[in-house]
């Protein structure tokens, strides 16, 4: 029974629990933390169960309220969104686990509100990926976005303004998406994705369809912060509280990337997406610029979190590039990178949260002696950094491998070179941080004999922070080493067969 209803439960449980959170907060606000953990643990379990079912039975179709599609809303879970569900619920669980001290520290008066919105945010993400209905997707997209605006706005000075800019651009993006939905409905009379996929091919030459497709792409590109539509992202994610940005940064862009893949390869046929409009070319070039521009902008940052935010812009470019290459290896790399980058970004943002909690600074130049103060956190930072650079056997290397393979297969040498170049730019970025955190410049001929120098006591972040961080580190290694397994059991079914 539970197993059969698990697709609905994944959405309903966080949604209902979000509404119950304020009531629990009335009794005792510290309980909210445990409540959220419990909820997300349940969501994770449901996701894993659903994933197991998808792996053994294939695609699951769940008719909400037993209304037959295309009239009712349908949840469709195939390999791609089963994986997304596990990523979303897993990461939000870890971020929630990490948030205990950080939330109490950064926004002591707003714990209850924060956790309520946190759960709504997760609900939004899960809804977006699980639904098989384009309008339902819009609804969840708005839930996620509105929760996101709120999560950003409770941040430090300047956060409300950043959130306001995010609202404006985010709403514009959502409007584009909604217009696209409207156009499709106008022509086909259907909102169900599978139904649309069957109805649309006959109409591919209609101008309305082309416009709808273009609107979809622009709308989603805003949400995934694809260069040059990324302008809302740096401020919003830097100024948001640590826990908010740790939730939003890894997931929001990835969920939007998922929507893009859905639109391009499920709702529309891959050949349409690739041939009717020069979408893939535009996408690839935008991605290439994003990769380079993101990394270069990151070079100019003195604030670690802001640097990561620009790296995120660059990482989004990787995913878009894989989609834009539109061949088997490229798309495999892209989907693999959704998983890997979510894991890396979560780890990195959690690390920033831990550093801020302990040292109250994010300025890279102030990181001197941090490796003695927080040895474990710093070790995790090194691993995550190496993964972003793409040093094997961390997971970042393997997605890069497939992306470059895709570029070489497509004979797009420039894209391959850009991917490689971005590795080097990332190396500069992270080794700069590592140098600040690990090195204690000494005079010539001074061996800095043991026990000398500044005595720094170990002041490591609390266990609630370290555990999720190291779960992320473990993920970075495991997803790397088992990337072949992940691809052969999940991702290869998520890539359209026509490639």
């Amino acid at each position: 029974m539970m197993v059969e209803q698990s697709p609905a439960l994944i959405v309903v449980v966080p949604l209902m629990c979000a509404l119950i959170t304020p009531i629990i907060g009335l009794v005792k606000k510290e309980w909210c933390y445990y409540w959220v953990l419990l909820t997300l643990l349940a969501a994770t379990v449901f996701s894993v169960v659903t994933m197991g079912r998808v792996l053994s039975e294939g695609t699951i179709r769940y008719f909400l309220g037993n209304w037959d599609p295309p009239y009712g809303i349908e949840y469709v879970i195939d390999h791609l969104n089963a994986m997304m569900l596990v990523i979303i619920s897993g990461i939000s669980f870890l971020v929630a686990f990490h948030s205990k001290e950080s939330v109490a520290d950064e926004m002591p008066g707003r714990i209850v509100f924060f956790y309520t919105i946190f759960l709504l945010q997760v609900t939004g993400f899960i809804g977006i990926v699980i639904t098989g209905d384009v309008f339902n997707l819009y609804v969840f997209l708005e839930i996620a976005s509105l929760a996101g605006y709120a999560l950003v706005a409770i941040g430090e000075d300047g956060a409300p303004l950043a959130s306001f800019r995010y609202i404006i651009l985010g709403t514009v993006g959502a409007c584009f998406y909604l217009l696209g939905v409207g156009y499709l409905y106008m022509v086909t009379g259907s909102l169900n994705m599978l139904d649309l996929a069957q109805l649309l091919p006959e109409l591919y030459h209609s101008k309305v369809i082309l416009v709808a497709f273009a609107f979809f792409m622009v709308g989603v590109a805003v949400k995934m912060a694809l260069f040059p539509l990324h302008v809302w992202l740096p401020d919003a994610y830097t100024k948001a509280p640590s826990s908010s940005s740790a939730l939003l940064a890894p997931l929001m862009t990835k969920v939007a990337a998922y929507v893009m893949i859905r639109i391009m390869f499920t709702i529309f046929e891959p050949c349409f997406s690739m041939e009717m409009l020069p979408v893939t070319a535009v996408l690839s070039w935008a991605a290439v610029i994003a990769i380079i521009a993101g990394a270069v902008m990151a070079l100019a940052q003195r604030d670690l979190k802001r640097m990561l935010v620009y790296i995120l812009v660059s990482e989004v470019g990787y995913i878009a590039l894989g989609v834009g290459l539109a061949n088997r290896n490229g798309l495999t790399g892209s989907i693999l990178h959704i998983l890997n980058d979510a894991c890396m970004m979560m780890t990195l943002f959690l690390i920033v949260g831990a550093i801020v909690y302990k040292t109250r600074t994010r300025t890279i130049a102030d990181f001197r002696f941090l490796h003695r103060k927080m040895p474990l956190t710093m070790a995790a930072l090194v691993v995550a950094g190496l993964s972003v650079i793409g040093i094997p056997p961390t997971c970042g290397f393997f997605s890069k491998w497939y992306l470059i393979l895709g570029a070489v297969d497509a004979k797009q040498w420039i894209f391959a070179v850009v991917l490689l170049l971005s590795s080097l730019l990332n190396a500069v970025l992270f080794f700069r941080v590592i140098e600040y955190a690990y090195l204690e410049p000494r005079a010539e001929d001074d061996h800095g004999h043991e026990e000398e120098g500044v005595i720094i006591r170990i002041e490591e972040a609390p266990v609630t922070m370290l555990l999720p961080i190291f779960a992320g580190v473990a993920g970075i290694f495991l997803f790397g080493i088992y990337s072949g397994k992940i691809i052969s059991t999940i991702i290869q079914y998520a890539v359209p067969t026509c490639f």
């Binding site: 190496l386 650079i389 040093i391 094997p392 056997p393 290397f397 393997f398 491998w401 497939y402 470059i404 393979l405 070489v408 297969d409 391959a416 070179v417 490689l420 170049l421 590795s423 080097l424 190396a427 080794f431 140098e435 690990y438 090195l439 204690e440 410049p441 000494r442 005079a443 010539e444 001929d445 001074d446 061996h447 800095g448 004999h449 043991e450 000398e452 120098g453 080493i481 088992y482 990337s483 072949g484 397994k485 691809i487 052969s488």
Partner: protein, 497 residues
């Protein structure tokens, strides 16, 4: 061919990894225990590697597939003769270096010793992984680990000079890594495999211009660590690292990993046939010959002992690659054998430089006059090793040079014979003044005239490596069948022709 599936090669890698983490978690406060881990790990590793030797000598292979990464490529270890050779060398020398390191860091009361030993162990793990890699991707994985793990050792002193050296090292090696990755992906996209095969596997794929480009990309990529000019700049700069690091890593593990990669590319990816067809071998041989001569000249001009040794290293590395580029059976045998014989001799020389530094804090050759009387064992070892590098019998350098010279004749390229001989002359020119001055010149300040050696922890390893150099020269196969392995590898490569 007998292929045995065994977890042993992977166990060797894991043992070192485990040892490294034991070292890390034991930490500064229990340093005797920490040093025990280093020694213990090196001994276990060595016995594991040695236990693989009999199978390999019988002509078999030992294989272990860790995990399938993608179609046609797995994270896979396969021990063949060449890998066995390099594995034996790296693991054997690690034992001696461990003892020496302990003497060195304690003698100098270095900071950050735990970090030092931890990264050292990771480097060895990577070197063993490189030796046993079955394909280009696995090799690349370990190669990158090696790159990253060496960085903390290069910047160990944390002076601005060391930090600059570290940055330069990273720029060179990470860029090289990217180039290798690009070429590897291209080859995979073209052939669908990356498995090393004696005699090469790219034959019949791609156009000749593509193959030429790929060959030079790969050689340029691995050539950075092998310090082929003009990609050598990082190596002398990286000599700011503590001496045992220079000794093991810059004489054996890191640079030899580069050379090992070059040889894998020449002999196991492209292979004699393709290289002959496209005439690539000759170009590579000329480039390396240029390096051989020019680095020898550079070495003459260095006053810092470690820098002079660094340029001598560059010289010898290029001799090895040049030998392989000639791709005749004798040249390849000599080239592979020289990896080991140069390893033993050069590590002795670096050990000596470190011993002198720990004892007298001298780094420059001009200050070493008369030091032979204070440290006769150390300088005696130096004399033996230096003579060996120059190719004097009965030290092992002679054997490799002999085979390399034969190879030049076999390839009918008399030019390279002259290059070899000139390089030997240059070796004599830059080593013999040191030996002469240290024994026969009037001592300078700070050199005492009575016997006053470095700690035994350092003197014993360096004497041992000097002795091994001589033993290998007289009985090339006496120690772990070094010569047999080298010639077996050459036979297999050319057997396929």
């Amino acid at each position: 061919m007998e292929v045995i599936f065994s977890v042993q090669p992977f166990a060797a890698v894991l043992v070192v990894l485990g040892g490294a983490f034991l070292i890390l978690f034991t930490g500064e406060h229990r340093r005797n225990l920490r040093e025990t881990w280093t020694i213990l790990t090196s001994l276990i590793l060595f016995s594991l590697v040695v236990s693989l030797t009999p199978t390999i000598l019988r002509g078999g292979l030992i294989e272990f597939t860790l995990i399938q990464l993608t179609e046609g490529v797995a994270l896979q270890l396969r021990v063949d003769e060449f890998g066995m050779y390099f594995g034996l060398l790296a693991s054997g020398l690690w034992i001696l270096t461990s003892f020496y390191s302990i003497g060195y860091v304690r003698g100098l009361k270095e900071h950050g010793q735990t970090r030092y030993f931890f990264n050292f162990a990771i480097c060895i793990m990577a070197a063993i992984g490189i030796a046993f890699s079955a394909n280009l991707l696995t090799l690349f994985v370990f190669y990158e680990i090696l790159t990253v793990a060496t960085y903390p050792l290069v910047i160990h002193k944390e002076t601005s000079e060391a930090i600059m050296g570290g940055r330069k090292y990273l720029v060179y090696t990470l860029t090289a890594g990217v180039v290798i990755l690009f070429a590897a992906i291209w080859i995979y996209s073209m052939t669908g495999t990356l498995d090393f095969k004696p005699g090469g596997f790219v034959k019949g794929h791609g156009t000749s211009s593509t193959l030429t480009l790929l060959f030079f990309l790969l050689i340029a990529g691995f050539g950075v660590k092998a310090a082929i000019m003009p990609l050598h700049e990082w190596l002398p700069t990286a000599m700011v690292a503590p001496t045992p690091v220079s000794a093991l890593l810059h004489a054996v593990a890191v640079v030899k990993a580069g050379v090992f990669g070059c040889l894998r590319v020449i002999l196991y990816v492209f292979g004699p046939e393709v290289l002959h067809e496209l005439d690539l071998w000759l170009i590579l041989a000329y480039v390396t010959a240029f390096t051989v001569i020019v680095s020898g000249m550079y070495a003459l001009a260095q006053d810092n002992l470690k820098r002079r040794l660094a340029f001598s290293t560059i010289n010898n590395l290029s001799i090895i690659v040049m030998g392989a580029a000639l791709i005749t059976p004798h040249a390849v045998t000599g080239s592979i054998f020289h990896i080991g014989s140069h390893g033993f001799m050069k590590i002795t020389l670096f050990f000596v430089a470190g011993a002198i530094y720990v004892k007298t804090h001298k780094q420059n050759i001009s200050e070493l006059d008369g030091i032979g009387r204070q440290m006769p064992i150390t300088m005696g070892a130096f004399a033996i090793a230096a003579a060996g590098v120059a190719g004097t019998p009965p030290v092992c350098g002679f054997i490799s040079k002999w085979y390399l010279a034969l190879g030049c004749l076999e390839a009918k390229q008399i030019v390279f014979l002259f290059v070899l001989l000139t390089s030997a002359m240059l070796d004599i020119a830059y080593f013999f003044p040191i030996i002469f001055n240290s024994f026969f010149k009037k001592p300078k300040d700070g050199v005492v005239l009575h016997f006053n050696e470095a700690p035994m922890m350092m003197v014993i390893p360096l004497s041992l490596t000097a002795i091994i150099s001589v033993v290998l020269g007289i009985f090339p196969s006496a120690i772990f069948n070094f010569f047999n392995l080298a010639s077996l590898a050459a036979t297999k490569i050319f057997g396929g022709m």
